[in-house]
């Protein structure tokens, strides 16, 4: 079996536009819909199962709004026991399951399938334990990212990963996507900050990995779960480490005449042994859009703007602000301002944080991309994007997590103009393929989902992907959890498990022995 099935749009040579093809719905499941819903209601009573079109509409899409699909039904469990029973039922009856947190995925990770239940984890919204002495918080997966920080900030602590959707996105979704944010060069991604999970397998079996201690002491299953995009299990509890909020944070706002010079400044700061808490770059179009929107005094005569934030003990921050300023001055910056108050620091960030809605003001729609490159390739990638912009007739603004090479090009388009969405998507694909070509990757923090699924072969060959899918087989041999995401082709586990080496067939290799 291979998937996508029956896809004419995937014919060889069709490089301009690929329609997204999802797995063929299981007809028998669709036919049994009423019975399945009745059975699920017996497990999750009352309002826990939603099956009317009008009530399911809010779940038809996630943050990748170009794709919409109503699910078979929406199931909203509130206990681990219910999740276990729901998954065991789906496993026994061959029903597919799409897990969902807050639905903020930008890669379509929570896109429903016609024949799959959508398992919404929103009712798991309690914080279970706050332990300041051991510096951990244990929360249910539906607690928001910011909700964890809010629960501990009275004692001066916070949860470090801060994706831009942190007000809405859930910690369970963060685990699924291995979410990042502007501070992850210094403080790590979700995977570096999660210490344990309780998780339910598709069989309904409940397992615990990690806890309040560090490392696994053996195989790092937790490391595999984080970032698995809901394909391996459903997380029902998460333990994270919390950190003391730095004593001081100050930022430097630096304008450069070219993005090359700004990129050189980033490299020089790191080469000087400084790891800033955050280091963001914006290009001219993004600067102009942000300044027009929030009016915080960004220089408009520069080609690239850097925000470099140093955080930590006061003496260290002041020392490093001086060093960063020296480096920037030495590289011919056009403007240089170091924040002298918290208000000024927040103003530096206000434009960057509003960059997406700011671009939304100057264009009817925008498509946010997410690739990572070796930073030294930035000039080549930026000039490539200028060429693509001309080719597709669409403008592109760039915001960039400069410290870790994570690009977020925003492609401007108008969905009401025929063909523009398709052109924007093709433009986006070309950007990601260029990222891979220069030694980078398809996604730095948004995930593969459905969005980048069909580009996976640009990074991984068949053997690479087969090894990843064998991991999937160990967790979910029937492929019921979130099918159609991450992998361009789903192979049967029996086929992946077959060995092609026969007894006595391979001669002993001619290699040195001692």
């Amino acid at each position: 079996m291979s998937q996508p099935e029956g896809s004419a749009a995937h014919a060889a040579g069709d490089v301009e536009y690929h329609a997204l093809v999802m797995p063929e719905p299981k007809r028998d499941v669709l036919a049994r819909r009423a019975a399945i819903i009745a059975d699920l209601r017996a497990i999750v009573p009352g309002e826990g199962v939603i099956d009317t079109e009008i009530e399911m509409r809010p779940y038809e899409s996630d943050g990748l709004t170009a794709y919409r699909q109503l699910p078979l039904a929406v199931v909203l469990p509130s206990t681990t026991a219910q999740v276990s029973k729901v998954l065991a039922y789906c496993h026994a009856n061959g029903v597919r399951v799409v897990p969902r947190g807050a639905g903020t995925s930008l890669s379509g990770g929570a896109l429903p399938l016609e024949d799959a239940i959508l398992l919404g984890m929103g009712k798991f919204n309690a914080i279970l334990d706050i332990d300041f002495d051991n510096r951990t918080v244990t929360a249910q997966p539906g607690v928001t990212n910011l909700g964890i920080t809010n629960a501990v900030m009275h004692n001066g602590f916070y949860y470090a990963p801060d994706p831009s959707s942190q007000i809405a996105c859930t910690i369970g979704g963060n685990v699924a996507e291995n979410s990042g944010g502007v501070h992850c060069l210094k403080y790590g991604l979700t995977t570096n900050n999660v210490m344990g999970v309780e998780m339910v397998l598709i069989t309904g079996e409940v397992m615990r990995l990690g806890g309040q201690h560090l490392d696994s002491g053996g195989l790092d299953l937790l490391g595999l779960i984080v970032g698995s995009e809901g394909l391996l299990g459903v997380v029902t509890e998460v333990t994270v480490r919390i950190l003391k909020k730095p004593e001081t944070a100050r930022a430097v706002l630096v304008g450069f005449p070219s993005s090359e010079a700004a990129g050189e400044c980033v490299a020089s700061i790191i080469a000087a042994g400084i790891i800033p808490g955050g280091m963001e770059m914006m290009d001219k179009l993004a600067i102009e859009a942000a300044e027009a929107f929030v009016k915080v005094g960004y220089p408009l005569d520069v080609e690239a703007l850097l925000i470099v934030e140093l955080d930590g003990p006061e003496a260290e921050v002041n020392h490093l602000i001086g060093r960063v300023s020296e480096i920037a001055s030495g590289l011919g910056c056009m403007t240089l301002r170091a924040s002298t108050s918290e208000e000024e620091r927040m103003a530096f960030w206000a434009g960057r944080k509003a960059a997406f809605p700011a671009v939304g003001r100057i264009s009817p729609d925008y498509y946010c991309m997410d690739g990572t490159i070796p930073r030294k390739a930035l000039p080549r990638v930026l000039s490539g994007m200028i060429d693509m912009s001309a080719k597709y007739g669409l403008a592109c603004a760039n915001v960039f997590h400069a410290g870790d090479g994570n690009l977020h090009p925003l492609i401007l388009y108008d969905a009401n103009k025929p063909g523009e969405l398709e052109r924007a998507e093709a433009f986006g694909r070309d950007i990601l393929l260029l990222c891979v070509e220069v030694g980078g990757v398809l996604t730095g923090e948004h995930g593969v989902g459905v969005e980048k699924r069909d580009l996976m072969p640009s990074m991984f060959d068949e053997t690479d992907l087969a090894h990843q899918q064998r991991l999937k087989c160990a967790f979910d041999a029937d492929g019921l959890l979130n099918p159609g995401k991450m992998f361009p082709q789903l192979h049967r586990c029996a086929e992946l498990g077959r060995m092609h080496i026969s007894r006595g067939q391979v001669p002993f290799p001619d290699i040195p022995r001692f």
Binding site: F132, R135, T136, F157, N178, G180, C184, G188, M207, R208, Q212, H213, L214, D215, G217, L219, D220, L221, G223, L224, V226, P246, I270, A272, G273, I274, P313, E314, A315, E316, H319, L320, T372, I373, P374, D404, G440, V441, G444, E445, M459, D464, A466, H467, Q468, R470, L471, K472, C473, M499, I501, S502, R503, V506, P507, F508, I511, P512, R513, F514
Partner: protein, 413 residues
């Protein structure tokens, strides 16, 4: 060629040799012990295989770009070579990988990059900077199916596909033989200092360490050495009491500021002292490499990871049984030396389970014991039935013929 014998070390020259060797083993129903330099052969369950797949000839740093914070090297590259290269650019492996040499009665500096990742090494900086797993970016490897594959990438932020570079860390060669690894590297702090607190009991030390690492002052190492164990560490030998050590790293003005603040914060706990950079470096290396327990290699040694505030209960139980211990990771890591070769596994695992309550209390790994003991006992924390079955299914996927170091971690895996 004649078939190899048990004593043979099959020294692969490149990835193609690794592929051919594994394919041959699958075809002939043979088993291979996956090894680099062999410096950690005494870790894990004791197993006997038909031959050793020796990766120590796969050497060389293939990519090092300091400004990109990334380094790639063949799996057999000596860790010491990588560290020397990084020092020249004022960088480091921030996870501060320990050297098992002293503890296992071998020379220092033998370990390879592949072994470092296969055993997920860490050091005193673990709570703030992570372990090897946290710095794994990409890999090339050969699975037990005799197929070479890659995963991850060479950039520091990447979520493309399952996180196999992290997932295969700590797999002790049982799922795949690494051939090349890419890791994140970071700037090396300019200098360091250590603040000492004398005379705390284990439980009070845990509170002091919690206050220190939960402060603004970026403590990058927090260890407690009970009196008696102090005698085995030159920098602490004359203390005359237990010593709680807190490390500060960074630029000099920052260290001075933080030390003064910490002294104020911790003055109520006990008498304070201080170590300058050079003796600090020696102290943290001794703690990292468990030098206090390097003297008598017949004694059983455990490595226990738990919640920091739960650790002292384990230390007390060990002391009652005549054992010795010291604490790293602000209490979260306990190194235990038993008075003799008997590991007393029921005691260690029992008290760990008791402090954990309904959750797992952490994990206890028997690090040093004779081969017979390591063949008979569970060396790694025993897995619950659901996890155990899952791990077997992973082995089925990656090494269905049970060719790669079978049984090294768990029976049947």
């Amino acid at each position: 060629m004649t078939p190899p014998t048990t004593a043979d070390r099959l020294r692969a020259r490149d990835e193609a040799d690794v592929v051919e060797t594994v394919r041959w083993a699958v075809s002939e129903g043979r088993t291979l012990d996956v090894a680099g330099s062999g410096s950690k052969q005494a870790l894990g369950r004791h197993i006997q295989t038909d031959a050793t797949l020796d990766l120590s000839a796969l050497t060389g740093v293939s990519l090092y770009e300091p400004a990109e914070l990334v380094l790639s090297a063949k799996a057999g590259t000596p860790v010491a070579e990588i560290e020397a290269l990084l020092v020249a650019s004022n960088q480091m492996m921030a996870f501060e990988p320990m050297d098992y040499g002293p503890l296992l009665g071998r020379p220092r500096g033998e370990g390879t990059l592949g072994g470092l990742m296969a055993t997920n090494l860490a050091g005193p900086r673990r709570p703030s900077a992570g372990a090897a797993r946290d710095h794994a970016l990409g890999l090339r490897a050969v699975s037990g199916r005799g197929e070479a594959f890659k995963a991850g990438g060479r950039v520091v932020k990447n979520v493309t596909g399952y996180d196999l570079p992290r997932g295969l860390s700590g797999s002790y060669g049982t799922l795949a033989a690494f051939t090349e690894l890419t890791i994140k590297v970071l700037p090396r702090p300019e200098t360091l200092e250590t603040l000492l607190i004398y005379g705390l009991d284990d439980a009070t030390a845990a509170k002091a360490m919690s206050a220190a690492v939960g402060s603004f002052y970026d403590v990058s190492g927090a260890a407690h050495v009970p009196f008696g164990v102090t005698g085995h560490i030159p920098a602490l030998a004359l203390a005359g009491s237990s010593v709680t050590a807190l490390r500060l790293e960074g630029v000099p003005p920052s260290i001075r500021h933080r030390r003064e603040k910490l002294e104020g914060l911790l003055a109520g706990f006990g008498t304070l002292g201080r170590l300058e950079a050079e003796s600090s470096a020696a102290l943290w290396r001794a703690l990292r490499d468990v030098e206090p327990f390097a003297g008598d290699h017949k004694r059983a040694v455990w490595r226990v990871s738990t919640a920091p505030m739960k650790a002292s209960a384990i230390g007390v139980a060990v002391a009652e049984a005549g054992g010795a211990c010291f604490y790293d990771w602000a209490g979260g890591l306990i190194w235990i030396e038993m008075p003799d070769a008997d590991p007393r596994a029921e005691l260690v695992r029992g008290v760990l389970a008791a402090v954990g309550g309904p959750q797992s209390g952490g994990h206890a790994t028997l690090i040093r014991a004779d081969a017979a003991t390591r063949a008979a006992l569970e060396v790694f924390q025993p897995l619950d039935p659901v996890t155990g079955a899952l791990v077997k299914r992973m082995k089925d996927g990656f090494d269905p013929s049970r060719v790669l170091s079978p049984g090294r971690m768990y029976a049947g895996v």
